[in-house]
């Protein structure tokens, strides 16, 4: 069963720490529990989104710089 990573707050979702850097996690990659998978920008600051549990074959449901709401599914993984 797929594990979901939900967005804790509304804003703009970023998959990379900076525009010229690679994404925190590549599509299909594996993450450890507590790993940062993206950033959400709101109120002039950036907030890290972390995976609560480990998983592999991550599939993002939201594009880089996509608009997100609280509770939105950002990614699924196995």
């Amino acid at each position: 069963m797929a594990k979901e990573i939900q967005c804790p707050l509304p804003g703009i979702f970023y998959r990379k720490p900076a525009p010229e850097e690679p994404p925190f996690v590549e599509d299909g990659g594996a993450v450890e529990a507590g790993a940062v998978i993206g950033l959400v920008e709101v109120m002039k600051s950036f907030h890290e989104v972390t995976a609560e549990e480990a998983g592999e074959n991550i599939r993002f449901e939201v594009e880089n710089e996509g608009q997100v709401t609280a509770g939105a599914v950002l990614a699924r993984m196995d």
Binding site: M43, K44, Q67, T69, A70, G71
Partner: protein, 322 residues
């Protein structure tokens, strides 16, 4: 009695009805972004309407109550949990010593108000406990709450199960409609721009905060040509410095309107289209990033009527929570 903060959420601040009377010195009124929700939360737990509560934006905090007490959560909709079990919003409920208050994901609105019987009893500054972080006034040593803070609470008593009827809880529509009274500088933009501002759909920019709500998506403003007066900046959106009222809409560079809110700056050199009427200021405090917004033009009579209508709603809430 105290509230122990385990997790602060995104930005959780102590707020009351603010500190009026110092704006001429550059110190804004501050206080709850959604004043009606703060008043309602206080009434539910038997507090005076201006008692200090926690205002949490987009994400709730996690906290522990150190004695048996009474709590209520109003404002935006976010599941409220006591030791993990959901309790209703806009309704007072008892919490036992050691119980943990936590929250689920925000489902509607933007800000919640957490009231505790007796009110938060931090030291007032200039007559208010409201947190004005930029000026390091009020709150906890002038800042938002942080993990490990222990917030003192006054003596209070109230009744569990008090509730505000659903019909009296205000929600932003889609698009949210904000009523605007054109102001002193209205003549500075062309007729086409005056019309476009109200015709276009805008959306809340993610930068929006307690100081100002920024909007984007509408057409840029065109200004009536003039030779800039002495003392005004060179951009056509500049004026000779003036006073900024709460709710005033400045448009730096003519592109993205900013509505000044409770933690507003008091003056500067940007022209203002007008002001969002006082009746709709609470609603702005419940707008999330990216939601659609329309500005609607009203005259002074309509603005005063809207204010009277909001006062009538408050009176209904008072009656329901008496």
């Amino acid at each position: 009695m105290a509230l122990e903060i385990r997790k602060p959420g995104l930005l959780t601040t102590i707020q009351d009805l603010g500190r009026p009377g110092y704006f001429h010195l550059g110190i804004p009124i501050g206080g709850a972004m959604d004043r009606l929700s703060l008043r309602a939360a206080n009434r539910l737990v038997g507090n005076p309407e201006d008692a200090a509560c926690l205002e949490a934006v987009f994400m709730g905090p996690e906290l522990v109550v150190t004695e048996d007490t009474l709590l209520a959560v109003t404002g935006g909709e976010m599941p409220v949990k006591l030791d993990g079990a959901e309790v209703p919003t806009w309704t007072s409920f008892a919490a036992k010593k050691g119980q943990v208050l936590s929250f689920g994901y925000l489902t509607d609105g933007a800000r919640i108000y957490i009231a505790v019987a007796g009110g938060i009893a931090t030291e007032p500054m200039l007559g208010s406990r409201a947190t004005y972080a930029i000026g390091a006034l009020g709150g906890v040593d002038g800042r938002a709450v942080a993990a490990g803070d222990v917030l003192p609470v006054g003596d209070g008593a109230g009744t569990p199960g008090r509730t505000v009827p659903e019909a009296l809880r205000r929600r932003p529509g889609r698009p949210a409609e904000l009523r605007v009274l054109p102001g002193l500088y209205w003549h500075r933009i062309t007729e086409a721009s005056q019309k476009a501002f109200f015709d276009d759909e805008w959306s809340v920019a993610p930068e929006a905060d307690r100081m100002g709500y920024r909007f984007r998506g509408g057409r840029p403003l065109e200004f009536v040509e003039r030779e800039q007066p002495f003392g005004a900046g060179s951009d056509p959106s500049n004026i000779v410095d003036g006073c900024y009222p709460y709710g005033s809409i400045q448009v730096p560079g003519g592109t993205e309107p900013i509505v000044l809110h409770r933690d507003a700056v008091s003056g500067g050199g940007y022209f203002m289209i007008g002001a969002v009427i006082s009746a709709d200021m609470d609603l702005i405090g419940q707008l999330q990033p990216n939601v659609p917004v329309r500005f609607q033009r009203v005259d002074m009579d309509a603005a005063l009527k809207a204010r009277a209508e909001r006062t009538a709603v408050l009176d209904e809430i008072r009656a329901a929570t008496a």
